[in-house]
Subunit: 348 residues, 2 copies
DNA sequence: AGGCGTCTCGCAATCGTTTTCGTAAAAAAA
DNA sequence: TTTTTTTACGAAAACGATTGCGAGACGCCT
C-alpha cells in the first residue's frame, strides 16, 4: 500500500519553476515576485498541497510534537491532565504523543527512549511508582531534551515542575476527618518513592499533630503499585481492620486507591461512614454517585496539564538556555460528601 | 536548546569509513566484511547509536506508528480500548499516537489529516457523534491509508471493522428489565447518526416487541453529544419524567450517559430502582460502587483494541492489496447489580 | 599472464524541504 | 552610456538514512 501526496517538486515541475522558488513562494518570501507567488499559491491550494512534516522535521531538527508519559490514562486524574495538555499543545501547533508506563520502571525507560528517538521536542512526565532511579531521564536532559515534571516529580533534575499542593490537600482532608469526630485515622498511600506520597503523608501527619493526635505508624499503609494491583490494596485494608485499635476513618492518597478501597469496604459490608469514614485524593468524575458519595481532595488536573504544556513550550521555544526554573503549586479543593459525615457514636 | 544525537556520519568519520558502509554494517549486510561490521557495531553500541526515525520515515515512506482517534480518552470504555491498542502495537514495534475528537466533526477532520500528514502507517478510529459525512476518511482511504473502525463504525468504507454485539447487548439489557417486572422502559441514547446508537436502539425495540410491549417513541431520547454536555442529558431526563406515563426504568446507551443519568436522578432524589430502575451500557470500573451499584452491559474493550490493532497491522504489512474485509463482532456481558432489582410494587 | 568471480567497500542518488549563495536581468543612479 | 543597486529566480548543499551500482583487491582457473 502506498500513500502518495503532492510535493514541492510536483509543483515546481508543473509550473516550470525550481523547487527552491516554490518553497520560498509557499513561505511567502520577499525574494519571490508577486505573480509567481500567486501562481504557486493557487496551484498549491487547488492540488491541496500539504508540506511533508517528516521532511520538515528532518530539515529543521524538531518535530513540533511533545511526548507524554503517565502511568495510566485509565484514570480520571491523568486523563484530565492530558486533556489540558492537548488543548494547549493544539493551540500552539504541537501534536501530542501519549504513552503509558503502567507503573513499571522498565516501561518508563523504554517509553522515554522511544519518544526521544522519535525526536519529540519535549517531554511531560509523571513518574511511575516503581521509579527510584532517573538516570534515563537525566541522560535525555543532558542531551538537551526539555522536560517538565508534573504530579509525581523529582528534585534531581533542574527543570520546571508543577504539582498540586499535596501537603495542604492532605492536611485539609485529615483535618476535616478530625473535625467530623474521627480520631483513629488511617492512611493508605502509594509507593513511598513518589513525591506525592511523601507530601501527602506529611500533610496527614501534620494535621494529626496539630490536633494533638499521636501518629501510629501501623495506621500508614504503602501500596507499591498505587492500587493497580487490587490484592495489594485488599491486603493493606485487611491489615488495618485487624489492628487492635481498628481505625474509624481512612484517608486514601490516590485515585485508584480510593475507588478500590471503597469497593473493598463495600464487599466486606462495612458501613461507610458509620464504621469507617473515607476521604479520597481523587479526581473521579463519579465521586458524587458513589455509595456513599465520596468526599475527595480534587486536583486542578486540566489546569495542571495546561500549565505544564505552556512551561514546556516556553522551554522548547526559548532561544537561549533556560537556567531559571519554576516549581508551580496549584491549590486543591476539598469536596465534602457523605463518606465523611460526622461521627455518630462517641469515640470509646 | 539543541538535542544532538550521534549519527551514522559520526560513526563513519570516527572509523574512517563511508556512511554507506556504516549503514550496511548496521543492517548486517552481506556486503560488509566481518571485521568492519564488528568495529561498527561495537562503536555504535558504545556510543549508544540510535537511528533517527525521522530520517528513516522520510526514506522508507513509513513511520511504524499508528494513529488513534477517539472522541474522548476520559472515558473508561475508550481508555480500555486504547490499553488494548497500545499493548499490541508495542509488541509489534509500532508506536501509538492518540488524539481526541471530543465529539466534534471538525476536530475529527483536522486530527485525521494531521495524523495522515505525519505519515502514520494506519488509523484506528471510532467516529465522533457529530460526524455524518466521512469524505475526509474516504480521501485518506483512497490515498491508501489503512484504516480500521471500531465501536462507532461506518459501512461506507470497505475495510476491517470491529464492534461489540450492540444489538444483543441492548436486547439482553432490556429483556432483563422486563424480566425484573418493568414495563415502561425508556431509552436514552446518543446521536442517531452513530452505528452504535441504531444497533442498540434496535436491540431495545426488539426486546420490547418480543415481550409484547408496544414501542412508545416518546420514551426514546437522543443526546446529540453523547452525554458530554450535561444539560442535554438533564433535559432528556426531565422530559421523560414529565410524561403522563412516567417510565419505570431507563436503559442508557453509553458510558457517559449512564453516569450522568444516575447522577441526575440522585440529585432529583428519585429512588433507584424503586421509582426508576437503571441499566447502563458502560465500562465504568466503578459501576459496582455506584449508588446504587449499576447494572451494566460491559463491552470487551481491551480485546476490541487488541483485535483492531492486529487487523490494522495486518493491513499495513500486507504485501498485496487486501480486498477481503472482516467485520468482527465481540460479545458483551451483562453485569447485574442493584440498579435493576426486581420491581416492588405491581404496575398500576 | 589473462580472464573471471568474489569479497569489500565507496560513490552518488534518493526521500521532501529549507536555506545560502550566486547570478542573470531590470531598474536606478552616475 | 556606464556603474551600481535592486529584483527575481535557480543551483546546490544540507538534514540522516538507505541502496543500486561501480570499482579496486584478491584468489583461482585455464
Amino acid at each position: 500500500m502506498k500513500f502518495e501526496a503532492i510535493t514541492i517538486k510536483d509543483i515546481a515541475r508543473a509550473l516550470d519553476l525550481s523547487v527552491s522558488t516554490v518553497s520560498k513562494a509557499l513561505r511567502d518570501s520577499h525574494e519571490i515576485g508577486e505573480e509567481t507567488k500567486q501562481a504557486v499559491l493557487i496551484y498549491a491550494r487547488e492540488h491541496n498541497y500539504k508540506p511533508n512534516p517528516i521532511a520538515q522535521s528532518l530539515k529543521k531538527g524538531h518535530s513540533r510534537s511533545i511526548g507524554v508519559i503517565v502511568c495510566n490514562i485509565d484514570n480520571n486524574f491523568f486523563s484530565q491532565v492530558i486533556n489540558g495538555i492537548e488543548s494547549i499543545a493544539q493551540s500552539k501547533g504541537y501534536n501530542v504523543i501519549i504513552t503509558q508506563s503502567r507503573e513499571s520502571y522498565e516501561k518508563e525507560v523504554s517509553n522515554s527512549e522511544h519518544l526521544s528517538s522519535r525526536s519529540v521536542d519535549g517531554l511531560i512526565i509523571s513518574l511511575s511508582s516503581e521509579t527510584k532511579n532517573i538516570d534515563h531521564l537525566k541522560r535525555l536532559y543532558e542531551k538537551g531534551l526539555p522536560i517538565v515534571f508534573f504530579d509525581r516529580i523529582t528534585d534531581e533534575i533542574p527543570t520546571h515542575r508543577i504539582i498540586a499542593n499535596n501537603f495542604k490537600g492532605a492536611y485539609e482532608a485529615t483535618r476535616h476527618l478530625i473535625q467530623q469526630g474521627y480520631r483513629k485515622i488511617a492512611h493508605i498511600t502509594s509507593s513511598d518513592s513518589l513525591s506525592t506520597t511523601s507530601e501527602r503523608l506529611a500533610g496527614y501527619k501534620q494535621a494529626l499533630i496539630d490536633a494533638g493526635i499521636s501518629i501510629d505508624e501501623r495506621y500508614i499503609k504503602f501500596c507499591l503499585h498505587g492500587g493497580m494491583i487490587r490484592e495489594e490494596t485488599h491486603e493493606a485494608l485487611a491489615e488495618l481492620l485487624q489492628l487492635p485499635e481498628r481505625p474509624d476513618a481512612i484517608f486514601t492518597a490516590s485515585d485508584r486507591l480510593s475507588t478500590t478501597t471503597l469497593s473493598q469496604l463495600r464487599i466486606m459490608q462495612i458501613p461507610i461512614p458509620r464504621d469507617i469514614a473515607l476521604v479520597g485524593f481523587t479526581n473521579s468524575i463519579s465521586a458524587d454517585i458513589f455509595n456513599p458519595s465520596l468526599t475527595s481532595v480534587v486536583q486542578p488536573a486540566m489546569e495542571m496539564g495546561q500549565q505544564a504544556t505552556e512551561m514546556l513550550v516556553s522551554l522548547i521555544e526559548s532561544r537561549r538556555p533556560v537556567t531559571q526554573f519554576e516549581k508551580r503549586v496549584l491549590e486543591t479543593q476539598l469536596q465534602i460528601r457523605d463518606s465523611s459525615q460526622a461521627r455518630q457514636s462517641p469515640s470509646p
